[in-house]
Amino acid sequence: MTKQESAARALASGRADAQGLNSENQQKVTNLWQDAIYRLTRNRAAVLGLILIVLLVLMSAFAHVVAPMHFTAGDAALNNAVPLWLTKVMPGHMETYTQISDIYPLGADYLGRDLLSRVIYGTRVSLPVGFVGALTALLIGLIYGSVSGYYGGKVDNIMMRIVDIMYAFPTMLLIILMMAFFKSSFSGAATPGTLAYEFNRINKVVDSLLGLQSGGMLFIFIGIGLTAWMGIARLARGQILSLKEKEFILASHMIGARDGRIIWRHILPNIIGPILVSVTLAIPGYISTEVFLSFIGLGVDPPAPSWGAMISDGAKALRSYPHQVLLPALFLAVTMFAFNFLGDGLRDALDPRMRGTK
């Protein structure tokens, strides 16, 4: 913050006092969260990230309005068609070997489906994966880490050894194995009453909620959620270990507060900052995990549009139709940028050492 700004801010709070607003109001200004939000809004990159995320969320929510076509619609006769203007922009002589069709704003894929529409609908795969992954990791990691850190001793020792073992598992391999398991044993299970059938039913509900015909999204959520919580668990445990020796926790014990209440009301609010930051910065990782999975054919089931599958399809014709890779790649990169910008901004904003500086 520049000198003038801080002066103006001091003046503003001074004026608030002069107008008879009591000191409670002034305390509010230095409250951690308000301070953090203030600093976050000063950070241009973080604001840009936030705006991009909001735009992407809107795009995925209103994909049926924004996208020119449905993600399965298209004309197979017009496969790999390219609009005229694109042939002039792209390198090489695309017009000499491709079909020209202006029906598609950014061209069609190898099955004649509109690329732009598929990329837009692709946000319905990537964003839920990012958010649900974060939520699951947060939920499991926070509960696991809190219990481990709070009870300490033997419980802590055993629980953290389990995390250590999970860490030694090559995560990508575990997810791939799980996806293979889910896909072949759950999808298509038709006997009512079995566990597989129930899973499959929930999966269908999730897919239709997201407006995808056959995503298999539930399985991806489970796969990512089950492998993503360890980092959060370790972080939460470490924070709680140092926090639980503090006097105010002792004080709540003295007045007879239950463990659950102490964890929920006194410990969690104090550790949520760093955890929020690490979850936000982990979201790009979840998104790229899904993209990797779909790339190797173990992610989202076609025809649901995943950026990973689109990149994989496009990469086969990279020389002839480079735009088929570049478009989903661009969307993917922008999404990753947005979350990284926001995460970085959050970290700076919530860092107590930075308080009052900016």
Partner: protein, 315 residues
């Protein structure tokens, strides 16, 4: 120190056991088997095949045979314990050991090259950024770092091919065999890791540079180069070393996508095809091999701590 290493080595035993059990259960829980074909085989042949590979045994016996804890049906101890990863079930004439021997060096070369790029680009970038904090260099290297973190290898790979192979024609599009072939895939793999390393190095250098012993080193008249490399960087490297272990394992294991984009004959392809083919021994073998990599590189990192910072001691 040696006691620490021994304790850690003993700890790897339950870890590897756990991973092997989970992997074994998962692959066997997937419905279907390695001999499922579209046209069903005569039941006798199917039974003979199953018997030949020991798949007619109860599940626990298959596991203990595979691990080399018990005698297999032919009466030998031949399992992981004896460093025998078994025969590949779907590639009749090859053993898993042979597959490793042929394809692991490729994946490992790629992984090491990517790690070299990650460290070789990331560390200098981080140092420059920290020494000239808030300068154009700092902003440039941090901008590069955020690009590296945000653009995954799956995006960088095709773009590199497009620019350096298809447009400029400097490098081969794909394949394996010469130094030129390694450049693009290792860059695609290593760039995001280099970004992580650059940010970590910068943050940790910024902290270390303000320490008293750096001022002391300067005060006793050491050259700036010695102060930075011997005194600052050595200490600042600890958080970087922490991520290098899992990073190395991730680079070696995370090569599936890059191997596919650049048509590289590495292990990644075998891992994925073995899952779809239900080639149990190949799945088990690759997973355990990667787990061993991960455990070993983490141990190596822990040992380097003591070298980097003598204040760290292991009881």
């Amino acid at each position: 120190m040696s006691r620490f290493i021994i304790r850690r080595l003993i700890w790897t035993i339950p870890v590897i056991l756990f991973i092997s059990i989970v992997t074994f259960l998962l692959v066997h829980a997937v419905p279907g088997g390695p001999f499922d074909t579209e046209k069903p085989r005569p039941a006798e042949i199917q039974a003979n095949l199953m018997k030949h590979y020991g798949l007619d045994q109860p599940l626990w016996k298959q596991y203990t045979d595979y691990m080399g804890f018990t005698r297999n049906p032919s009466g030998d101890y031949a399992g992981i314990l004896q460093w025998d990863f078994g025969p590949s079930i779907t590639q009749r004439s090859r053993t898993v050991n042979e597959i490793f021997a042929a394809h692991l060096p490729v994946s490992a070369t790629l992984g090491v090259a990517a790690l070299l790029i990650a460290v070789g680009v990331g560390v200098p970038l981080g140092i420059i950024a920290s020494l000239k904090q808030n300068s154009a260099w700092d902003y440039l290297s941090m901008a590069l770092a955020i690009v590296g973190v945000s653009v995954p290898s799956i995006v960088i790979g095709p773009i590199l091919i497009l620019v350096f192979a298809l447009t400029l024609g400097w490098l081969p599009v794909a394949g394996w065999g010469s130094f030129k072939h390694i450049l693009m895939p290792s860059l695609a793999l290593g760039l995001s890791s280099s970004a992580i390393i650059a940010r970590l190095t910068r943050a940790s250098m910024l902290q270390v540079i303000r320490e008293d012993y750096i001022r002391t080193a300067r005060a006793k008249g050491l050259s700036e180069k010695v102060v930075i490399v011997r005194h600052a960087l050595k200490n600042a490297f600890i958080p970087v070393a922490t991520v290098l272990g899992p990073m190395f394992a991730a680079l070696v294991t995370g090569t599936f996508v890059i191997e596919q984009i650049f048509a590289i004959p590495g292990l990644g392809k075998y891992f994925i095809s073995s899952i779809t083919n239900r080639d149990y021994s190949v799945v088990m073998g690759t997973t355990l091999l990667y787990a061993l990599f991960l455990v070993a590189s983490n141990l190596f990192v822990d040992v380097t701590y003591a070298f980097l910072d003598p204040r760290i001691q292991f009881e």
